[in-house]
């Protein structure tokens, strides 16, 4: 064995040397098999320290380096660079952690700490003796992004990526982009009109030369890996040739079939052939076959086809599948409201005057079913007293969801304020658990509602809502005065919990990206990698990742876009080679690795009848290695043989 390992013991000032006898450590290691050089130094990470390592590598022709110092998360990269500079392969530079895992935790037993440091380094020497020279993995990069979801987050991400010069495919499942933001009336805390700030962005993204907009479309299949995804988009049959259609609206006008409008939250009807709202982008209709007379009654109608001046209607149209190659995917699938029917205690879904927060938004909207007038659904009267309820389904570990939906305090404050602006003599009540106003200008907005607009805030929960004598009876408690409260209101607005869009779960499953127990997509690190998924190549934006307001969604979308742009800046993508590899000679083809791999990186080669690891996707987690019954799966530079030697060194056997 011709290994020539160098051992460099760092004092870290007194951090290590104050506890561990570093001189003795260096001396003992000098005699250890395979070690060609051993020394100690006060600060190995300093410039002179690094030079000491570099010089020793050259002078002693080292084949491996152990730096016995702090945690590898701090300086592994530093010493790998130093090794590379001295002509070594960076994957033959190893760190033995004798600070966090030794000197810091064994201050009161110096002798034992020194023994432990020696043994820790010996373990790493055993590893280094078998370390191979590796090269980072390079994969080609397709500089085109897929953005899933055409709400504000998706639109912003698409725009930012496109403006960075890359192509974007923006996929939206409904007939228009805009998402929930397009439904909103005015936005907190500035009260600017949501549509007015939204529609220019919708138009901009639709007209952007780098953006391929696909509405009424869904992601059907995704395969491949970062830099090299193959995606299949299903363009749903719209029964309208939308390339030719000019959006004249004649078909909509003449269509005899109606159904409750999703965009208006069931407060008004739409036609079977429809655009979701007047400012829709693209402003071209789709035909909803489920509610169309032609489809329901075997061709007995066909009015839209008769009136269309351009013959755009095509009842024979089928779903179309379009394939794209993309390098990165931004998931911006947004949120839904917790179903109102789940709030049985408030008669959710049973009483027409107990409405959802989005229904109230539509009532407030100038383009809404009431033209911006607040009229209660049961009889169209102006409500004199309205009760707003926060935490409907949120922060309820007993019966509903444990998490805070974050945006409800603020939008209900806005609702109450706009109601007061609309109905001056009316009374608005807000039942709250806490008013959470974490955001710029939010606390001031809340104060304004309470003080200038006389919104009455009651600290307590509502226990029950029921109808009595044409009123909505609200039973609650004021926990500040300790009194029971009973309000005979005209209307109640439920601040329903935010849940992930219900189609997102299926998508997350298809994309193999992680979601939490509630279905919100998981970020790679809650603080330091908040817009990336753990699976490389996937980025998260907006409420798909967790409840968020507009500014936060936009910020996250822009952050995701900048991550994508950085990824696309290189023509190749490089990643760590410390991954699994399969020995084709011993692999029996049992496919256990394929079934256990959380990243879909293990695949079965049908020709050779053996498993194979896709280098570009493997994260080196080691699950397949533990599962492989024949030991054919091995981690590079952490093979069973290395582990065996390392354990032997640890146990001194």
């Amino acid at each position: 064995m011709g290994e020539r390992i160098g051992v460099f013991v760092c004092h870290c000032g007194t951090n290590i040397a104050g506890v561990v006898d570093v001189k003795r450590v260096a001396e003992e290691l000098a005699d250890y098999p395979g070690v060609a050089y051993s020394t100690d130094y006060t600060y190995m990470c300093s410039d002179p320290g690094q030079n000491l390592v570099k010089d020793a590598i050259k002078k002693h022709k080292l084949t491996g380096v152990i730096v016995a110092a702090c945690s590898p998360t701090l300086h592994e990269a530093t010493f790998r660079r130093a090794g590379t500079a001295a002509g070594m392969n960076q994957y033959q530079v190893e760190i033995a952690n004798i600070r966090e895992q030794c000197s810091w935790v064994h201050r009161d037993n110096k002798e034992a700490a020194t023994e432990k440091a020696i043994r820790t380094i010996k373990i790493m020497v055993e590893k280094a003796r078998l370390d191979e020279a590796l090269d980072p993995i390079s994969v080609p990069m397709t500089p085109r992004a897929l953005v899933v979801g055409g709400g504000i987050a998706g639109i912003q991400a698409a725009l930012d990526i496109a403006n960075a010069g890359h192509e974007v495919v923006l996929v939206e499942k409904s007939a228009s982009i805009g998402g929930h933001m397009a439904q909103l009336s005015e936005t907190f805390p500035t009260l600017d009109c949501s549509q007015c700030i939204m529609t220019p962005k919708m138009v901009e993204v639709a007209q952007h030369p780098k953006v391929k907009l696909m509405t009424y479309s869904e992601v059907d299949d995704v395969s491949g890996y970062v830099g090299n995804f193959k995606v299949r988009i299903r363009k749903k049959a719209a029964y309208v040739n939308r390339d030719v259609c000019t959006g004249c609206g004649l078909c909509i006008e003449k269509c005899p079939a109606t159904t409750p409008s999703e965009f208006d939250e069931q407060l008004a009807d739409r036609k079977a052939i429809y655009t979701p709202f007047p400012q829709a982008v693209p402003n071209k209709p789709v035909l909803d076959a489920e509610h169309c007379t032609y489809f329901l009654k075997d061709g007995k109608c066909g009015i839209c086809a008769k009136v269309c001046p351009l013959d755009c209607i095509d009842y024979e149209q089928k779903d179309e599948f379009i394939d794209f190659e993309v390098g990165a995917i931004v998931v911006a699938t947004g949120y839904d409201l917790y179903p109102i029917e789940n709030l049985g205690e408030y008669g959710g879904g049973k009483y027409p005057d107990v409405v959802t927060s989005l229904q109230f938004e539509r009532m407030l909207s100038a383009s809404g079913p009431t033209g911006g007038e607040i009229l209660r659904p049961s009889d169209g009267e102006v409500p004199k007293e309205v009760v707003f309820l926060t935490c409907c389904g949120s922060r309820d570990t007993e019966s509903h969801l444990p998490y805070c939906s974050k945006i409800c305090c603020m939008y209900l404050t806005k609702h109450a304020m706009l109601y007061k602006h609309n109905v001056h003599e009316g009374q608005a009540y807000v039942f709250y658990m806490d008013v959470r106003t974490g955001g710029k200008g939010y606390e001031e907005f809340y104060t304004r509602a309470a003080e200038e607009d006389d919104v009455l805030y009651i600290r307590g929960k509502v226990s029950k809502i029921f109808e009595e004598d044409g009123k909505v009876m609200v039973w609650g408690v004021d926990t500040l005065s300790g009194k029971k409260i009973e309000i005979a209101a005209d209307m109640a607005v439920l601040g329903l919990a935010t849940i992930p869009n219900q189609s997102a779960a299926k998508l997350a499953n298809m994309l193999k990206i992680h979601a939490d127990e509630w279905g919100f997509l998981s970020e790679a690190h809650p603080k330091l990698r908040p817009v990336e998924s753990l699976t490389p190549g996937f980025y998260l934006a907006g409420s798909a990742q967790g409840p968020k307001d507009i500014p936060e969604s936009v910020a996250q979308a822009s952050a995701a876009a900048s991550k994508v742009a950085a990824l696309f800046a290189e023509t190749e993508y490089h990643r760590e080679p410390i991954i699994a590899v399969i020995d084709e000679d011993t692999c029996a083809g049992c496919r256990v690795c394929v079934s256990v791999c959380p990243y879909d990186a293990a695949e079965f080669d049908d020709e050779k009848k053996v498993a194979r690891i896709k280098e570009a996707i493997c994260e080196g987690c080691g699950v397949c290695i533990a599962a492989c019954p024949s030991g054919s799966a091995q981690q590079k530079n952490l093979t069973d043989e290395q582990l065996y030697k390392m354990v032997s060194a640890a146990l001194e056997v």
């Binding site: 008669g347 049973k350 007993e398 019966s399 029950k464 029921f466 109808e467 009595e468 009876m473």
Partner: protein
Amino acid sequence: MKIPYYPGCTLHERARDFDDSARECAMALGVELEELPVWTCCGAVYPLVTDSVMDILAGVRNLSYASRLGDKVVTLCSFCYNVLKRCNNVMRDDAEKREKVNLFLRADTESREKIESYTLEDYEGQLEVLHYIEMLRDVVGYDKVASAVTKRLEGLKVAPYYGCMLLRPKKEMKFDDPEQPTIFENLLEVLGCDVVDFPMKTECCGGFQVVNDEELAVSCSQNIVVSALKREADIIVTTCPLCRYNLDRHQERMAERVDGFTSVPVIYFTQLLGVALGIDKEHLDFTDNSVDPINVLAEKSLL
């Protein structure tokens, strides 16, 4: 078909009408309620303390008796049902408490040599604790109930009152949605009634508070009765002797407190079921009501 039946104390005392009518109806539906040969009070209120097992002993003892007769036990009183079901949950799910309680059961057996045939066996929570309504739905089947109906209760506006104990706590009882339950309504529809949906159907009647604070119990039950009356109920049905007591007995007081109050009879659901099954009214025992139900039922030509 024989099913082990735990009546509980009240059904042998104040609520004989509930017990009698339930047995008659069961018989008409081909079910024999087999009363446990030995039983004691269930404890009446499920203990709020969580670190003591003494308080659930009474309930478990009865479950242990019942487990000798079959794999189910049926009960009628909402309180008994609540206590037995929750005791059963503990014995099924909590290994530590199960072991302790069984130690007590063994000691109990040793001290009661008199009733040798009823030594208590270790109990593991194996029984299915059923309310009589659940028995009708799941064991007999609502379709079979429907075919046994001889007199559909057409035109009778019935307000089903659930009270609290059947439904709560939600996670333990798993009886029905505690906010918008429907099991009772579904039974009444099978009998041909016009079901009155009223928002107070799951509010508390005042319960045992009637002992300490009668005023409170009157207010609570008044809320319920007035709400049902507003929706023109001809009759209110309950599943619990205490609910029946509170809703029925306080109506004179309610009349003093509420302008234009008209009284409304309150009967057990088994009595109404009996009418629909054509059981002779003598066997349904309408004698213990403060507000006489006979007139209302006769008016609709149901008796």
